[in-house]
């Protein structure tokens, strides 16, 4: 086990994975509670078109994915705001459009040396030093912004109409929230994969809600579940020779099943007593 932790690629994957797990889990609580779980999927799938473009241009795909993801976040916000269109329907257009573009770019750049698959399904064990540093930096910045304006984000996400009556800056915070999600999503691509990102945002929160009675408690619990999921995923990848992303997602789903069963018995006992 000691050898395992001394390996550089394991250290890199754990550091980046844990950073993304914490930022994703905290954001996930806002996303799930506001019933906007699809947003992480929309941003992730459209970010893949940015990856495709990055691969095509041979220029740092995560960075291009970040720009595309932020642009799409703005587009989604603009198209839904004040319109009778539901966010889900507009999101579906962007999601499928993003994937179609990603496929197109990846096809054109099929002879390029950068692997598109590593962004589709994640490749946490192959992260470079620069990618790890940037991932940690982005996660820390996102968490700092969230904690500095915690109540404001709470209001904007849970009750946007009331928020607009209360603060004139609420529209800015609505967009800022999407901006933060798109940043974490684009830096999660290589950690867990564009097709699996939703798991890292949503499942830890669902596990946490089996126990938590307040939002703060839910955030703490979800971070613990997300960190455990990433840790188990990397561990299983090394020792069982399974893809790390599969390990992470399946660990999280197992935790969700066990925590739901445990919570069910806990509630049954309480109601009996």
């Amino acid at each position: 086990m000691f050898d395992f932790f001394s390996l550089q690629f394991v250290q890199y994957s754990l550091i980046a994975g844990l950073a993304i797990a914490i930022a994703g889990a905290v954001l996930g609580n806002f996303i799930v509670a506001a019933r906007q779980s699809f947003i992480s999927e929309v941003l992730a799938h459209t970010a893949l078109s940015g990856v495709g473009l990055g691969v095509l241009l041979n220029f740092f795909p995560t960075f291009v994915a970040g720009i595309v993801s932020v642009f799409v976040a703005g587009l989604l916000w603009f198209l839904v705001r004040g319109s009778s269109r539901t966010p889900e329907s507009v999101g579906m257009v962007l999601l499928t459009g993003g994937l179609a573009l990603a496929l197109l770019f990846a096809h054109i750049a099929r002879d390029n040396s950068i692997s598109f698959d590593s962004f589709l399904f994640g490749s946490v064990l192959t992260l470079s030093f620069l990618e790890v540093v940037l991932t940690v930096l982005v996660s820390v910045c996102v968490l700092l912004v969230l904690f500095c304006f915690w109540s404001r984000f709470l209001l904007v996400v849970f009750d946007p109409v009331y928020a607009r009556t209360r603060f004139s800056s609420s529209v800015f915070f609505e967009f800022l929230f999407l901006f933060l999600v798109s940043l974490v999503v684009s830096f999660s691509l290589k950690v867990i994969g564009g097709l699996l990102i939703g798991a890292l945002f949503v499942i830890p929160t669902l596990c946490a809600q089996n126990f938590a009675r307040s939002f703060r408690a839910s955030v703490v619990w979800s971070v613990l579940f997300a960190v455990s999921g990433v840790f188990l995923g990397v561990l299983s990848s090394y020792f069982l020779d399974v893809p790390a992303s599969s390990g992470i997602v399946l660990s999280l789903i197992l935790m969700f099943v066990f925590s739901s069963v445990f919570s069910f018995f806990l509630r049954s006992n309480k109601s009996l007593s």
């Binding site: 609580n29 509670a33 506001a34 019933r35 109540s151 709470l154 209001l155 849970f158 009750d159 109409v161 009331y162 928020a163 607009r164 009556t165 209360r166 004139s168 809600q209 938590a212 009675r213 307040s214 939002f215 703060r216 408690a217 839910s218």
Partner: protein, 235 residues
């Protein structure tokens, strides 16, 4: 009328060809408790949304006295999506951490022990009290209530109507209360505004609600219209 806190002048709102508000003018004075009644589709919620900055006006202007802060308790608001929020977190949405939340809760008849409870686990009346406390938490001068008691049982309704009148009298908050419950509003308000696209003056609220507006004069509009239910066809 002394010390105006809100002045609304000739406000109209159209959604395409549909007239939602027509030439509405009124003034709220500091410390007043004013009821706003009118049939469904009369423009009550639209008027509040305009005053709260959620909707824009088609024409006309409105202005608050300088430094006035506004609180709002919405219609049919349900934080069910927020099943994990504690009462403390719901209140913190509206104010900073320096505010004494137990003191705020005491204004709406809830004890400090409610702060740690899950908002979702409360009864309908308790939820509504928490939302009123949320609106009070940042000490607004003017409070808007948009039919906030639909779905609350009769006894709790009476208690909350009385509670709001108490808050108005003891803390001096100006209140504009939109409601369908004419008797309850009339008995607790300083005055009642009757709205059906335009504002009407000289109405008895009950006869207005029943559609007998032939004794009413449209304020700021030359037309005197027939029963409310046929109003759109006459215009």
């Amino acid at each position: 009328m002394s010390d105006p806190i809100l002045r609304v002048e000739h406000v109209s709102k159209n959604y395409g060809d549909v007239v939602a508000l027509k030439d509405v003018s009124f003034v709220l004075s500091r410390g007043e408790y004013v009821g706003l009644i009118g049939p469904n589709g009369a423009g009550k919620s639209t008027l509040l949304k305009i005053l709260l900055g959620i909707e824009s006006v088609t024409s006309g202007v409105f202005s608050y006295a300088s430094g006035v802060s506004v609180g709002y308790v919405p219609q049919h608001y349900d934080l069910s999506a927020a099943s994990v929020l504690s009462v403390r977190e719901v209140l913190h949405m509206s104010c900073g951490s320096g505010v004494d939340l137990s003191h705020i809760l005491s204004h709406v008849g809830l004890s400090e022990s409610f702060l740690s409870l899950n908002y979702h686990s409360l009864s309908g009346g308790q939820k509504q009290r928490v939302l009123i406390a949320r609106a009070l938490a940042h000490s607004p001068d003017l409070l808007f209530f948009d039919e906030p008691l639909s779905g609350v049982d009769y006894q709790t309704k009476l208690q909350i109507y009385d509670l709001l009148r108490d808050i108005n009298l003891s803390h001096g908050h100006t209140i504009l209360f939109v409601s369908h419950e004419i008797e309850k509003i009339v008995s607790r308000s300083d005055r009642v505004l009757c709205l059906n696209e335009s504002l009407y003056e000289g109405c008895h609220p009950l006869s207005f609600a029943r559609g007998h507006k032939d004794t009413c004069t449209s304020v700021g509009s030359v037309s005197i219209v027939g029963p409310a239910i046929h109003h759109h066809e006459h215009v």
